[in-house]
Symmetry: C2
Subunit: 429 residues, 2 copies
């Protein structure tokens, strides 16, 4: 019997790990809670009705249909046994493994205030995206039917908490919907009077970017009609809005549509791994891994992607943390596969080295910021050229040719008409 | 103030009525429970993962954006007052009208056995379609993880109750998924071993069709791999399957995926109308209307579409019931608008006359039946030419050019690759 490799989670890390084992003499099992691989960088487009869900989600077993050494299972891992080399699934089943790659990713964290969750959904899954789409579109529908001007203003106030890439994308697109997509379709309200606020605790948006690009992003957000509140701490969120504190003192923001893009926490599987192996978790619940991505004392368990607190080890340079972006997850996935192949052939594993090609973030129509590492130094640009670069980079990396084509088509249509084709409200919950 | 026309429901009937009032000197309000007009003839494609929801649903207010005399509202009408000329909404609001068009459509009926609903979802809304898609795809996923051959066979048995157009389309497409889309993607099960059953109480499928075409449809279903059980009465449905009775006696069918395409009942608004006006309801709860589609004693209330028990009154011919198909609803909607315009200009209203262009139903890949009325007599054909005819007729009538194009593209892709692009499971309920 060939060595059994179990991969938990089929995001970017898990998918790349399984693909990199294509030619290895192993049996690979990929298990995921859902039936689809999600192209998360475009999830905000589903939440803002620009794309339909199938455009950015591909059935996992379809992606592996020609890779005969992969078996795809849908299920949820809840516990691990490192000595017996098994995992336990939620429905009671057990799976055995010789090599384990844990790529379970991250979820959103409300910093201990889980009671905020119903009032401020986050954006990690398709269901999250549908919920946000529903809230945004229904807010305009309810405003059209509201006679009280105070209540109407509250319905037309949208607040995004968190100025990272997701928060910036959402706020920019909300403003675009209000200013360009919906005007002309309402008879009693003017959608352009909607107010979109972006609330960020630190002094700038897009903290992973150089300061100059953060400032460009803030300017582009303002040009799109987003009010950016920096240095603003959220103290409470309820069904009617939220309370924030800034240098100017406390402030109340009425809103029926608050979106949470602030906190990220590692998957609860990190805790299960710690229980099973005694490994260390960092403050965000991520698993502290060895240089080769394995767990101390457990060379046959590796952790990749957002669940791993990993370091990049370039020869002759100080090691530095791997950022929580999709290229990081993909590279770790491939590295873990390589290490398994090396161990099977009796070679030593290698410390992970992250190839940093730069960073990019979109803000809205014609607006983005790009920070690329080139041999000649950092290349930084923003605005329309950055937006075009972002667009083609994302379509290029989309899984599956059909998806790429449909997404390009949807975008071309949306760009010329300002229409957003997926403005459908479902899930009456 | 101009006369106020209120249209309840924006299916085919309500949409056409509002459009036909484009040039009338009236203010039109269209109210619907959802935010979208649904192209119901293709809903089964969403349920079977062939199309994404936005491809067949268009935001109602987007459709009316250039028709300035239409105001779109999202809300649910629960009661009517014929004397005060108002309707009451679920949230307590009231709307006044001078002319009322009720186009609230139909829902599915379990013939008094509402306890069957959770075990056998019907197909009327997008949420219904997502639920069916979820159940079908999850059945294959669970089968891949099931070791017990008896349980696995039950998971791979799909039952559609009702041999009308929807039941035939669903059964044919389920068989296509099992035989063509999924094989090669599973490692433990062979999806081709899935069994698809179509259970119909009467002696033939597609009862609205001539007998010869019903027989063609049955043959094409068999060729696609569907087992058709005719003259089979459902006596019970539970979480594990259903009980039927045929001439051969009672039979138990194990299934975790039963779909209900058997009974149609008028919208509960029919009952509300009867309470408000004393109008008569037929056995299916439909409102019996006057020849001009109005209610007896209430010339300013008209009922159109599936909610109306209407007759077609061709001069010199016996009046006959209007079938519950989309051309019927559309024609009634336009007729009601014309009658309002005639009344406003002091003319008498006209009795409704249905133009019957024939009937068509698709069964699956390359399979359909068509029955057209031509000046030279009935034109009947089936198989590939009928399927092509069905395809272009449906794409032609799809609302919105973008939708037509995307749907054609999706179909072309699906046709050549046997892939179904929308195989995404969401809504973990």
């Amino acid at each position: 019997m060939r060595p059994q490799v179990l991969i938990i989670g089929c995001g970017f890390g898990g998918l790349e790990a399984a693909r990199a084992l294509r030619t290895a003499e192993v049996d690979v099992t990929v298990i995921d809670k859902t039936n689809h691989h999600l192209f998360q960088p475009l999830l905000y487009q589903v939440a803002t009705a620009g794309l339909s869900a199938p455009s950015i989600a591909a059935p996992i077993r379809h992606l592996f249909r020609r890779q005969r050494n992969v078996t795809t299972l849908m299920g949820e891992v809840v516990a691990l046994d490192a000595a017996a080399q098994t995992v336990a699934l939620k429905d009671g089943a057990t799976l055995r493994w010789d090599h384990l790659i844990v790529a379970a990713g991250a979820t959103h964290s409300y910093f201990g205030r889980d009671d905020w969750a119903p009032h401020a959904p986050g954006l990690k899954t398709l269901d999250d995206a549908f919920e946000i789409r529903r809230r945004v579109l229904l807010a305009f529908e309810m405003a059209e039917r509201e006679d009280d001007p105070v209540k109407r203003a509250a319905l037309l106030q949208f607040v995004v908490v968190g100025g990272g890439p997701t928060g910036v994308e959402l706020a920019g697109t909300f403003a675009e919907i209000a200013r360009h997509t919906l005007p002309g379709e309402f008879r009693r309200i003017d959608p352009r009077q909607a107010r979109v606020l972006l609330v960020e605790g630190s002094p700038r948006v897009l903290q992973a970017m150089p300061e100059s690009l953060s400032e460009r992003a803030r300017e582009q957000l303002a040009a799109l009609g987003v009010e950016v509140k920096l240095g603003a701490r959220v103290t409470n969120i309820d069904a009617e809005g939220l309370d924030i504190t800034t240098a100017a003192g406390p402030e109340r923001l009425q809103s029926r549509c608050v979106v949470w893009a602030a906190g990220v926490a590692a998957s609860p599987l990190g805790r299960a791994l710690a229980d099973a192996t005694g490994c260390t978790l960092d403050r965000a619940g991520r698993v502290v891994v060895e240089p080769d991505l394995s767990l101390q004392g457990h060379p046959n368990i590796q952790v990749v992607g957002d669940l791993a607190a990993a370091q990049s080890h370039a020869p002759g340079k100080e090691s530095r943390p791997v950022p929580g972006v999709s290229p990081g997850a993909k590279q770790m996935g491939r590295w873990a596969a390589t290490n398994i192949k090396r161990r099977l052939s009796g070679q030593a594993t290698l410390p992970f080295r992250y190839a940093d090609y730069g960073n990019l973030a979109t803000i809205g129509r014609n607006s983005a910021v790009v920070d690329l590492g080139t041999p000649a130094g950092q290349l930084r640009f923003s605005g329309y050229p950055a937006w075009l670069f972002w667009l083609f980079a994302h379509v290029y990396f989309l899984i599956g040719y059909r998806n790429r084509f449909v997404v390009l088509l949807d975008w071309a249509w949306a760009y010329w008409t300002y229409d957003r084709g997926a403005r459908v409200v479902t899930q009456k919950r």
